[in-house]
């Protein structure tokens, strides 16, 4: 371990280095002094669980955010980036998980977006096309610069992003989860492109949850945990087991699944469910999943991004239509029930994206907390404020929301407390089954532990819990049963005593070593 950020071998030229990068948000520290180097013409991969600080580090390196302290050195000189454009001008480009292309424009127009070649007579489209063609040819793909981006497959779109970065003379490319939405063949192409880029002296900072894949492509490995760099090494010296060990480290004790009570009857039955991909109707994002959950049982659905977990849960909650199959709550088919109907029957979803699907940002903490159960306290024509207030007060206590008042704007809470409000909103409807999609995303460890306690308590009272996650550690500390999803199917099912490596292997994340 060389936590001081010194060079591994010395014969590689360091182009970019982070020196003691600290980033605090308000009272919380996301990065606690991170050091690492990026070498010319090499791939450096950042490993780490969700919340380890990878995305924060990326934001700092690409100019989205400024470090609280510490320095970034580019070719030995200390630099600072005012924004992403500034970073790009200095040779650092980031390719986000969600691509930033305008689908209605052509490949050429996307490549020159914001940097159009202007002449006296307007934009020089011909020259743009020529240059675009040149760059695209070097990337060894037959993409025509005049094709609309919407006609391209995702893998090709990614190549367009790379081409755009190259054309802007980027020497350092940051790739955030580049393979998560790609097919195996597209991953092959991407890796070939990465090899080409390396040969041209372009350095790559690579982030991925697909450990095996990342290990295949990387030259250097840097492992982050809780905002500190726990290890770095040459890729050829390490193996998957080494990465997992440093990633996970000593487990923060999130507790164990609740025990000492019998499960009730089957509460939720998912019967051979298939859901078509809205973007590609031939493909099923969920492809024949069957799962029974009993009252009081906590079932974890583990899987990588794109495994179909979110789609499955959204379909069970009633947002997405099933292509085939049946969902039953206590034996009743839910097919014709709306989301509202399902909530009234006792089935609620805590969605994956808190900001987009979980909260009404214009409302108060209390308004959000009571939103799903607001019909319960209608008196005559109007809402009973006293009943509502007592529900809100109880809710705030039940899920331990830290708030100045129930009238505070929801945006004034921390991420963890916002998440507790979203959970509390569903819990307030007295559900029989609660579905949680990645509920620990972006919340701190202590909040996570509280969420777990809350779920355990409710499960003891007979609530059936379906918990979707991409963090292995979470499965082991909360679930009575772990179901692994891979490419729309259930690939394995485990009890609570399984080894992490087995779960990860079943998800396609890593093989057992």
């Amino acid at each position: 371990m060389t936590a001081d950020g010194r060079d591994y071998e010395g014969d590689d030229e360091v182009v970019l280095s982070a020196r003691d990068i600290v980033k605090t948000y308000g009272g919380t520290t996301a990065l606690k002094g991170v050091n690492f180097n990026v070498h010319r013409g090499k791939v450096t991969t950042l490993f780490g669980e969700n919340g380890a600080g990878k995305s924060t580090l990326m934001k700092i390196l690409s100019g989205v955010e400024q470090p609280t302290s510490g320095a970034i050195e580019l070719d030995g000189a200390t630099v600072s980036f005012a924004d992403t454009n500034d970073a790009r001008d200095q040779g650092i480009s980031i390719i986000h998980q969600e691509l930033s292309l305008a689908p209605n424009l052509s490949v050429r127009d996307n490549m020159f977006m914001g940097r159009e070649l202007r002449t006296m007579r307007g934009v020089d489209y011909r020259e743009e096309e020529r240059q675009a063609r040149l760059v695209l040819r070097e990337l060894a793909d037959n993409i025509d610069p005049l094709t609309p981006v919407s006609d391209l497959r995702l893998g090709q779109q990614q190549l367009v992003e790379i081409a755009r970065a190259l054309h802007a003379n980027s020497r350092i490319l940051i790739m955030d989860e580049p393979t998560s939405a790609l097919s195996a063949a597209e991953v092959e192409v991407l890796f070939k492109v990465i090899a080409d880029l390396k040969a041209r002296g372009v350095s790559i900072v690579y982030i991925s949850h697909h450990l095996e894949e990342a290990l295949q492509v990387t030259d250097f490995a840097v492992v982050l945990r809780d905002g500190t760099m726990t290890a770095n090494a040459l890729a050829k010296d390490i193996d998957l087991e080494w990465i997992v060990r440093h990633m996970v480290g000593k487990n923060f004790n999130l507790g164990a699944p609740p025990t000492g009570y019998p499960f009730g009857p089957v509460a939720l039955e998912i019967d051979n469910v298939r859901i078509a991909d809205p973007d590609n109707p031939q493909r099923n994002v969920v492809d024949g999943v069957s799962l029974d959950v009993r009252a009081g049982e906590i079932v974890c659905i583990y899987g990588l991004m794109g495994a179909g977990r979110t789609e499955l849960l959204e379909a069970v909650a009633g947002r997405v239509a099933l292509t085939q199959g049946q969902v039953r709550l206590e034996g009743h088919d839910l097919a014709h029930l709306s989301i509202q109907g399902r909530i009234q029957r006792g089935l609620g979803l805590v969605p994956e994206d808190r900001q987009r699907d979980g909260l009404v940002q214009t409302m108060t903490v209390g308004g959000n907390l009571s939103l799903a159960s607001v019909t319960d306290f209608v008196k005559g024509l109007f809402l009973s404020r006293t009943q509502e207030q007592s529900l809100i007060d109880a809710g705030i206590l039940n899920v331990h929301v830290k708030t100045a008042s129930s009238d505070a704007p929801i945006g004034s809470l921390s991420g963890g407390n916002q998440q507790k409000v979203v959970i509390g909103k569903i819990v307030a409807t007295n559900p029989k089954v609660i579905l949680l999609d990645e509920p620990s995303r972006g919340i701190d460890v202590a909040a996570k532990a509280e969420v777990f306690n809350l779920l355990a308590d409710r499960a003891r009272e007979g609530l059936a819990v379906v918990y979707s996650t991409s963090e292995v550690g979470e499965c082991l500390s909360i679930a009575h049963r772990i179901v692994v999803m891979r490419r729309g199917r259930i690939s394995a099912e485990f009890g609570p005593d399984v080894a992490k490596e087995d779960i990860m292997a079943a998800s396609g994340e890593a093989v057992v070593v």
Partner: protein, 376 residues
């Protein structure tokens, strides 16, 4: 915005130690109204601040204010209703024509005035229902859907008399349909009936928005439709109802205006929708939905109305008035964006792994300072 104020809990959580600018920003429509009143009282001390003038001005404002309340409901939902001016016109025509008698199977029926009013209001509700179904079920963009109905409804109003105005609204005592002008000409305790109608509608709307389930759903769906839907809010039904309410408000405004003018003209209410939108915006509502109050909207309508009346009284030309009104609208939107930027600035971002401080549930203001720091 719809919360009770518990004794221990301040309504505005991030307290900024009595920030005078924030207070000015929050109460800007009210302040604007006071400024307008003071300025014109000084400029025209004998004609502007008189009781009779205030009553006349209020009566003029009430038609716009009725439209604005309906518009507010739609805007809270994140939509827009451009058809209210036309709906006002058509409802007025329906009322005017119904007063002339309805021919069914060769028999001419002369409905009583209350039936006439119901017919006119029902017309507005139908227009609103069409708007609502277009927007909520057929997913037509609200701007386009209501732009279409703006034309269609106006066309229907003109078709109904081939563009002629209906003048005879007095009714006939022998037919039992007198009293239509009562709405426009009479007063209760010195206040015109039109203003009373506005008061009643405003109180009902306020109760609906603040105290009913529908109101809560409306704010929620306007603030974040996806989150509201996942919380079990029937977002499409709420949307349809919002447009129906807007149509009904426009129809009520149409009846009041027709009665005040004692004539029903097919071009009545042309471009009133823009005034209504302006009033809602000046009243502090966000065009993106989820934020706005009846009180603010009323203030907005009175700001526009008193400004126009005041400028007329001091002898400013109508063209200059138009410029003034436009400037006020732009200023209002500018202030809105400042206000909402303040509120959303502290939006937390996901993906940071802070180690939390204590986790005891506290709801006292004492922890406020720390909580604010805890924001990500």
């Amino acid at each position: 915005m719809t919360q009770t104020i518990a004794p221990s809990s301040p309504p505005k959580a991030p307290k900024r130690s009595f920030d005078i600018r924030a207070i000015l920003l929050e109460g800007r429509a009210f302040l604007a109204l006071i400024v307008i009143f003071v300025v014109f009282s000084l400029l025209a001390p004998t004609s502007f601040p008189t009781l009779s003038n205030v009553i006349v001005m209020s009566q003029q404002v009430s038609v716009y204010a009725l439209l604005s309340i309906g518009m507010l409901v739609v805007i809270l939902n994140g939509g827009i209703d451009l058809s209210v001016g036309s709906t006002l016109g058509l409802s007025g025509m329906v009322a005017g024509l119904a007063m002339q008698g309805i021919k069914i199977f060769g028999v001419t029926l002369y409905p009583a005035v209350w039936v006439v009013v119901i017919l006119a209001v029902a017309t507005g509700a139908v227009v609103g229902l069409v708007n609502g179904l277009l927007v909520a079920r057929l997913k037509v963009a609200p701007f386009v859907a209501t732009l279409g109905t703006l034309y269609v409804v106006r066309g229907l109003a003109e078709l109904s008399t081939n563009g002629l105005t209906v003048n005879n609204l007095e009714g006939n005592p022998q037919l039992g349909n007198t009293g239509f002008e009562w709405l426009g000409f009479n007063s209760l305790i010195g206040v015109p009936i039109g203003v009373w109608v506005l008061v009643v509608v405003a109180v009902l709307a306020s109760l609906l928005l603040n105290r009913s389930v529908f109101g809560r759903w409306l704010y929620a769906a306007g603030g974040n439709e996806r989150a509201a839907e996942l919380s079990g809010v029937p977002v499409r039904r709420v949307k349809v109802r919002a447009y129906v309410i807007s149509g009904v408000c426009a129809a009520i405004a149409g009846v009041v205006l027709t009665s005040e003018l004692t004539s029903a003209g097919p071009t009545q209410g042309t471009s009133y929708e823009l005034t209504a939108i302006a009033a809602v915006v000046i009243g502090g509502a966000a065009l993106t939905g989820g934020r706005g109050t009846v009180r603010g909207t009323l203030l907005g309508a009175f700001v526009i109305g008193f400004l126009a009346a005041g400028l007329t009284i001091v002898g400013v030309s109508a063209y200059v008035q138009t410029v003034f009104t436009g400037a006020v609208i732009v200023l209002a939107v500018l202030l809105n964006s400042i206000q909402y930027r303040r509120r959303t600035r502290s939006k937390p971002s996901a993906g940071t792994p802070p180690l939390s401080t204590s986790s005891s549930p506290t709801t006292t203001a004492a922890t406020e300072g720390r909580l604010r720091e805890d924001r990500q």
